[in-house]
């Protein structure tokens, strides 16, 4: 688990301890470092909380309720009296486990196998949680399976990709590193052969993939967080005013701000390419205005007249 920063409130410490104690009892001897890594704590926090726990006790087991000691970085646990079983799964944990398992069925391709281990785990989990009540619908695009295999094998692929930025299809060599799903869209993070840099591609814009036969060194990639995965990138911010019907922009895209203004909204969002903004403006229609930057103020009108010319030309 990821370590947290700042002082830990008592609730968090108790919650972890009640899971940690039975976890330790099942294993009897575990390194402090291992516990720290798994439970998202520093080694000092593990030692402190376990030393406190070993002091806990009530008559008639004043000193032996929790029998453990720490020596040379190893935790040794004796015959348990109490806390032999983990605390039941709480409502938030139950929800998160089911959501994770349901999502994983689709995104990891587990649903493509018949009787998968994940399905059996889900069935057992749902008995303990009194049913499921969670459905995840993020169907995998056809290329997802090939990309997952390539990531595991560190295989270099030849990829034909349509770029929204240049409105052209080009061919390149990539080494896929991670597939990630955000707001129902599927993305690929890969090392781009030509530049050697890490790049993010939209999987629905990949036209074709073929193996090159080459493989690369394994490399771990950090997936972007749910919010603001554009924030790190150095891209221009656009200020839009949209009518009430255009409020979906703030929900669909990672905007930096959205404030109600009159009947509509004032939205600030990072824009990666001019072409993308043109398409967004066409979708928003006459109810949207670009306020900044100035070079894009007329972008929507330009896009509309260009497309209109196409309709005029084909009018039979």
């Amino acid at each position: 688990m990821t370590p947290r920063r700042g002082p830990r409130p008592t609730a968090d410490r108790v919650r972890r301890l009640l899971v940690l104690l039975p976890w330790l009892m099942e294993r009897r001897e575990v390194a402090v470092a291992e516990v720290a890594a798994k439970f998202g704590l520093s080694e000092a926090e593990v030692v402190r909380d376990l030393e406190l726990a070993s002091m806990c006790g009530l008559p008639p087991f004043v000193d032996e309720m929790i029998d453990l000691y720490i020596d040379e970085g190893m935790i040794h646990v004796g015959v348990p009296r109490l806390f032999t079983r983990p605390l039941r799964i709480s409502a938030p944990e139950g929800f998160a486990l089911l959501a994770a398992a349901r999502a994983a069925r689709q995104i990891t391709g587990a649903d493509e196998q018949g009787d998968s281990a994940l399905d059996r785990a889900l069935a057992k989990l749902s008995v303990v949680l009194g049913g499921e009540g969670v459905v995840v619908d993020t169907p995998a695009p056809p290329l997802a399976a090939a990309l997952r295999d390539a990531i595991i094998a560190c295989a270099r692929l030849r990829m034909t990709y349509w770029s929204a930025h240049s409105d052209r299809t080009s061919e390149r060599e990539v080494t896929p590193r991670l597939v990630f799903v955000d707001r129902g869209r599927w993305y690929l993070i890969a090392d781009d052969g030509a530049s050697g840099e890490q790049r993010t591609f939209r999987i629905d814009r990949i036209e074709s993939l073929t193996p090159t036969g080459a493989t690369d060194e394994p490399r771990e990639v950090q997936a972007p967080s749910a919010t603001g995965w554009f924030e790190a990138a150095d891209v221009p911010l656009v200020v839009l005013r949209v009518a009430a019907e255009g409020a979906w922009v703030a929900e669909r895209y990672p905007v930096t701000s959205a404030t109600a203004e009159g009947d509509g909204w004032r939205i600030e969002l990072p824009v990666v390419s001019e072409r993308w903004l043109r398409e967004l403006l066409l979708r928003l229609g006459p109810g949207a205005v670009v306020e900044a930057p100035t070079e894009w103020v007329d972008l929507g009108r330009g896009a509309a007249s260009e497309l209109l010319a196409r309709y005029d030309a084909s009018r039979a």
Partner: protein, 309 residues
Amino acid sequence: MGRAVVDALERVTNLVALLLSARQPLSLERIGDELAGQYPTGEGAMRGAFERDKALLREIGVPIESEVLTGSDAGRTGYWIDRVKYELSDLELEPDERAALQMAVAAARLADAEFGLLKLGGEGESTPVVVANIPELAALPELREAASGRAEVVLRYHDRERTVQPYTLLLREGFWYLIGLDLGHHQVRTFRVDRIEGAVKVGTPGAFARPIDFDPRAVFPTDPKLLGDEVEARAEVLVDVPRADAVVRELGDEAVLRRVGDAVVVSVPCANRDAFRSWLFGLGTHAEVLAPQTLRADVVAWLEAMVAR
């Protein structure tokens, strides 16, 4: 005890141990006696500290029971923890099942799921090949419990109070939806969970039965272009070279009406005009509506309004 201050972790752990091993419900006074030196003295201060500990424990999922005592403690409240409810029953996960769950949790990156996995005896971190951003909202855990336990919920949505028999939660396109029978309208409705206003009230479990043939995917069509009154409505759209292949991949070969050189004419659902326009304009100048004429005129009017403003 010799130590001036007892760490809250130690006091709370002792309280759990005491309530778990108690043979009968314990009054506040008894708890104070058993944990001598750990709670402040004076009844008001002691009660305040105990109430905080009780709230803390309930927050992390420790089920603390209470009842009004009889006998020598008549009238006082007694507290205990039911071990059967406290302890996680053994799921008897096979190693491959636990590993699969581990992969799932690594892919979903939800802190609560990671923690739940530790309770299930999870081992080590796994490096995921696929990850997903799954939105977390405060109301989701109780809505899920209400759906699986068949408890009615009362919620505020679009400024009105609704009583709903929750059938399921659905995650689609990055949004969580609650699907259930709206008792005010006697209709199955879909509610965006992030638009539910304020707290949700959950009734008693087992209050209703979910229709056997209920299928969340059918209630709520996958393709937003199908959401509309004329579900059958379809448009003929010409798509040019740079996007033609991708569109055929998206819609399937059965959507292809004919090929015009390298370009392609496809049949696309258009019951929902907004969703259809969104799809169409996503193709920029590479797509053109050919039929029906009303839809083509609609698109032209939309563009003319943009040019005129």
